[in-house]
Every structure is written in structure tokens, then in C-alpha cells.
Symmetry: C2
Subunit: 346 residues, 2 copies
């Protein structure tokens, strides 16, 4: 350790990382990743060393592994897998961060990382790490701005969300409900569909894999759809386009149906014809554009949680080495809510 740095914690000389072993071909497999040990990194001047507490995984990260352009960039084989996590500062150099601070940042899939202080957000340690990464993390904030700023849902409107039991979807539906909409969630199993209603207070939960899905979808949207919050693309987007009301809004948030493949399908029938006929607006957004307003979203989401109108849903995994399995499960649709990989516990 250099002069002026403090190192009050006992640190190992090595730590574990999960690397991209090879870019996936077809569906993602755990074999596309490998765990290795590496020397503990030494932070350069002005940087801090962080110990990862927990990471989350977004389905959109699979798009980056397709090798084509994506907002997440194009990862390469041999690199540490990127990702968002909560970490604890273990060595600081006298700046605004102190040893022991809980922070949020791009930790990657590894036990320790070196960070620029300005890239980290200091967190309230009294809030669960899983909430920092879920409801109050990028997933929740994405849901918040997608519903309020892109979809602009109004009380009394019909709001439909796909991947509704997912990390973004379960928050989006609850936000729309809190704003007075009639909320229909589409998920991938009967169990999830029931949970949307029983646990999260959605008006209707639908299983997209059920035989009578199309009939049930129509029956669940007797006044058609005002806002469709799309996390999946593909067939569900196409079905929703045929149910949109005039002046309806399609919030394009994610395309999970097209991520876990090397050969994405064509676009939905109904684009652009149905957009014209029903004057539908379809808009893509990325949460990063709302960064100056993250605090606003977190305050509102926290208030709803305190009031009992917003419940956090997570699926937990234990240990860094479980991250590849969590990613595979997420893409296969077997997780609910935000996948949280606990990397370290005090």
C-alpha cells in the first residue's frame, strides 16, 4: 500500500473472477464462462479497491454477448464478465470515500475491483443490498421512468407488461397500479401469473405459455391496451400491437425473446401498419438518459415500499461461482424478480 492509503482490513493476495470463456453460440450455457483466481488488483493513485458484496444480472447483458452493437458494448472472450454490483470500499486514498462505505457500481463478476471514486454511488447501509440492486437499482428505476415518462400511463388506462414477473416487469406493473391503471401482467408460468395477482396486486396475471393465451389475453383487455410495456419483443409484442388503442404507447424496454440466440427473428407484423391505423407511438429508451433524476425515482419507489404498495421480488444465488447459472436461469425464465448473486457476507 502506498503512502496515505489505509488498509484496515486483512486482504487476501488473490481473488476469484468469472471470465467469458467464449462468446455463446446459440443458447447461453454455464460452460461459456470460467472461474479463475487472479492476483488482488492494486488501486492506482486516486482509485479505490472494493470488495463485491452482491451482483445482479440483467437479461439485456445477453445482447452484448451476441457480439453486435449494444448499449453495453461487445464483450470479448477472456475478459471478466461485466455487471452491476454493490460493494464495500476496502482501501481508499483520502477522497470522499471512506473504508467501509457501501457503494453501487460496475463491479463486474469478481470478488474485488478497482474503481474510480466518481463512478461509485454511496449507498444507505440500512437498506438491503438486494433492494439496492433490485427495486432501487437500475431495474426499478428503469421501470419507474418507463412507466411515467415514456408510457405516461394515466389513471383508468389499461397497462400491460410482459416478462411481468421479471426484475423490471414486477416493478413496472406495481408502479402503474400505484398510478391508478388497470394492470395486466404476462409471465411464463401459471405460478408466476398467480403470484402477480396474489402477491403483487396486479389485476390480471396471464401465462403466455398456456394453450388459451390468445383468448385469455383478449378477455383480459376488454378495453384494449393503452400502454404496453415491452420487455420481450417477439410474439408478445406482435400480439399487443394488434390490441392497442388509438393513441396507445408501446414502451420498448427490452427484447428478452431475442437475446438468447445467435439468430434474432424478424420484426413484428403490424409494424408499421398498425402504428399508422391506431396512431400508436412506440419508443425505445435507456434508463441512463434519466441519470440526473435517479434520486427522484428512488425516493418515490422507497415511499411506495414504505406504504406497502410496492413489493420487491428477488431470486437469490450464493457465491460468485453461481453467477453463470443465475444468468442461464434468468434467460430461461426460471427466476422471479431480480436475480441477486451474493458474493460476500460479512
Amino acid at each position: 500500500m502506498g503512502v496515505g492509503k489505509t488498509a484496515p482490513m486483512a486482504l487476501p493476495t488473490e481473488h476469484r473472477q468469472v471470465l467469458i470463456a467464449s462468446l455463446p453460440n446459440g443458447r447461453l450455457r454455464t460452460e461459456d464462462f470460467e472461474v479463475r483466481s487472479a492476483p488482488l488488483p492494486v488501486p492506482g493513485d486516486g482509485k479505490v479497491l472494493c470488495r463485491t458484496v452482491a451482483i445482479t444480472i440483467g437479461a439485456g447483458q445477453r445482447a452484448g454477448l451476441q457480439g453486435s452493437a449494444s448499449y453495453a458494448g461487445a464483450p470479448e472472450a477472456g475478459r471478466v464478465m461485466g455487471g452491476t454490483g454493490v460493494a464495500q470500499v476496502v482501501s481508499a486514498s483520502g477522497g470522499r470515500l471512506r473504508v467501509g462505505d457501501l457503494v453501487w457500481g460496475q463491479t463486474g463478476w469478481q470478488e474485488y475491483s478497482v474503481q474510480q471514486p466518481e463512478a461509485l454511488t454511496v449507498l444507505d447501509p440500512s437498506v438491503l443490498a438486494s433492494d439496492h440492486l433490485g427495486v432501487l437499482g437500475l431495474n426499478g428505476v428503469t421501470a419507474y421512468f418507463g412507466v411515467t415518462e415514456v408510457g405516461r400511463v394515466q389513471a383508468g388506462e389499461t397497462f400491460v407488461v410482459s416478462a411481468a414477473a421479471g426484475s423490471v416487469g414486477h416493478v413496472a406493473g406495481q408502479v402503474a397500479k400505484a398510478l391508478g391503471a388497470r394492470v395486466v401482467g404476462i409471465a411464463g408460468s401459471d405460478e408466476k401469473a398467480a403470484m402477480l395477482v396474489d402477491l403483487l396486486g396486479f389485476d390480471v396475471g396471464l401465462n403466455r405459455k398456456s394453450e388459451n393465451f390468445r383468448t385469455a389475453f383478449r378477455a383480459a383487455t376488454p378495453e384494449r391496451i393503452d400502454v404496453y410495456f415491452d420487455n420481450t419483443g417477439g410474439d408478445l409484442l406482435e400480439s399487443a400491437l394488434f390490441r392497442m388503442n388509438q393513441r396507445g404507447r408501446v414502451v420498448c424496454c427490452g427484447v428478452v425473446s431475442q437475446y438468447d440466440t445467435s439468430t434474432p427473428g424478424p420484426g413484428p407484423r403490424g409494424v408499421p401498419g398498425l402504428l399508422v391505423n391506431n396512431r400508436v407511438r412506440m419508443e425505445g429508451f435507456l434508463v441512463f438518459d434519466f441519470e440526473p433524476r435517479y434520486d427522484e425515482a428512488r425516493r418515490q419507489l422507497s415511499a411506495w415500499m414504505s406504504a406497502g404498495s410496492l413489493r420487491a421480488l428477488t431470486t437469490g444465488y450464493s457465491g460468485l461461482e453461481s453467477a453463470p447459472q443465475a444468468f442461464v436461469d434468468l434467460l430461461a425464465g426460471t427466476t422471479s424478480g431480480t436475480p441477486i448473486v451474493q458474493v460476500w457476507e460479512a
Copy 2:
């Protein structure tokens, strides 16, 4: 004629109509229509009889003939083909309309029609009927609101329009140019592409059928695309989606590539993924929603015409019986600007 009606013109006892002989199967043919004579209709109380002066044809009318839902409804075999025209009032019943008034309305493809007075717009007789049906008609007004209200083009932005030599396209490009945009038009032949630049003042004209179209398209949009005004759908829409700037806007106005067929293709690749990555807004609109503001558009378009910055482009046909051929030509892309079928000349 009933009491209180005037009939100063000599009227025939029969007139000609163009009927839908059969809903088209595959590409539209002139044989899908037939001309017949019918007794001159007698207007009921409060209605007026109109003699059609000229009609125009929109490519979107082909969508109605697909038998599926469309804003134009679903025409049936055996009915008079619907359409917009300019007509002269030949018998009126003492309301606000006078015999001899030039009016705009849904005349259909026929020499005479009975109209509700409130469904007619009285026109300035000093303006050409072809301008009333073209630049100042629904086509021009559609272009105006599509560019200003949906695309919201700003000075200095790159504006691309497909079917650029068409009825809506040639006005849209000139409106965007008048508002200070850099304008690229895509048309279906080298001749049309050259005309866009030489006659209409576009910055670039491209022939979508040329071998090097993709290369030329990229070269013509070095700063990518801010507003894409889509009249075609299909491959061009797909190409444009891959060239959109962040925060770009796709104005969905028409889908001419998918009209003249019984088997519309799938939607564009890139929806919704590219909308998300580049935060693109894609919005369908129908001009009817702007009806309270038609006068505003016509005043501005007239001002641009007077100032020499907006040129009207039409392709003329003579006689009602040429309407089917005009429709076939329009869909085949051999017309330029607004197709005008002159039905009657004083």
C-alpha cells in the same frame, strides 16, 4: 326536383360509376374494376347533388381492398369505389351551399354524387383543382403535420423520406427543406431521384432500385438520420432503422410496399431492439386527427408555394374510366406526385 330546390344546369338522366368488380387477389389489376352507367341520383331533403370535377387516389386505398381492417374501412365487390374529389354543386336546397360552388369531399369514383352539405368543404375556385387535391389536399396536409408535429424536424437535422416523389413524399421533403433540414429523398428510379434534386430542391435523391443503393444511402447520411418519414415500410424502413441517430424519430405515414399484395411481409428487423438502443420514437399518425388545423396547414403551404419554395407535382389522367389505370400505375410507382383523374371539364 322538390319544392325549394333549384336546377339551373341541364342534367343527364344517367351517369357513369367505377365499381369494385372483385376484391383484388395479389397485385391490383384494372380488371378488378368495372365501369357502368346508373340513373342520376336524386338528392333527398337537405342534401346536394355534385358533379365530380377531378379525383385523386391514395396508395393507402389499396390497403382497404385487402379486406382487413384499415382506417378506410373494408370496401366490397359491387360497390362504387370510394375516393376523394373536387366537385361542383349542381343542385342545392337553400342551405349554405349555392349552385356552382366548388367543393371538396368524398365523391367516390363517379360522375355525380349526393352529399351531406356538412361533409363538404367549399373551395377557392381560383386555385387549381389539382392543387386542392394535391399540395393543399389531404396529401399535402398529411406531409405538413407529419413533418412538423410528428417528426418535429429541426433546422440542421438530417431528414429522409421514402416514396419521395410521391404525393405525400414530395411535399414532406420540401416542407422539411423549408424548415432548414438537410433532405434526402428515396424514390424508385434514377429519373425521379434526379427530379427530387433538380426540380424540388432536395439535397440528395436516391434510387432505391440501384445496385449500390445501400452504399449510396450511407454516403448520403454521414451524420445518420434524425427524422425518417416512412411512406413505404418494408426494406427501406429496416434500412433506415439501422441509420437512426439517438433520439431519432420515425414518422409512420404509409406502407406502400405492403399494400399491393395479399400477403404482407413480416415487420422490420431492428424493431424493437434498435428503438431501445438508440432511444428512437416511432409513431403512426393519420391526418384526420389534425382536422381542426387543416386551414393552418393550407395557409402555410400556400405561402410556401407563393414564395416559390414549394412545387406541386402531379400526374394527370383524363376521364373517369382511366381511374383504375391511374391506381395501378400509382401502386407500380410509375406516377410522380399526386395522381389526378380529371372527370369533367367545364
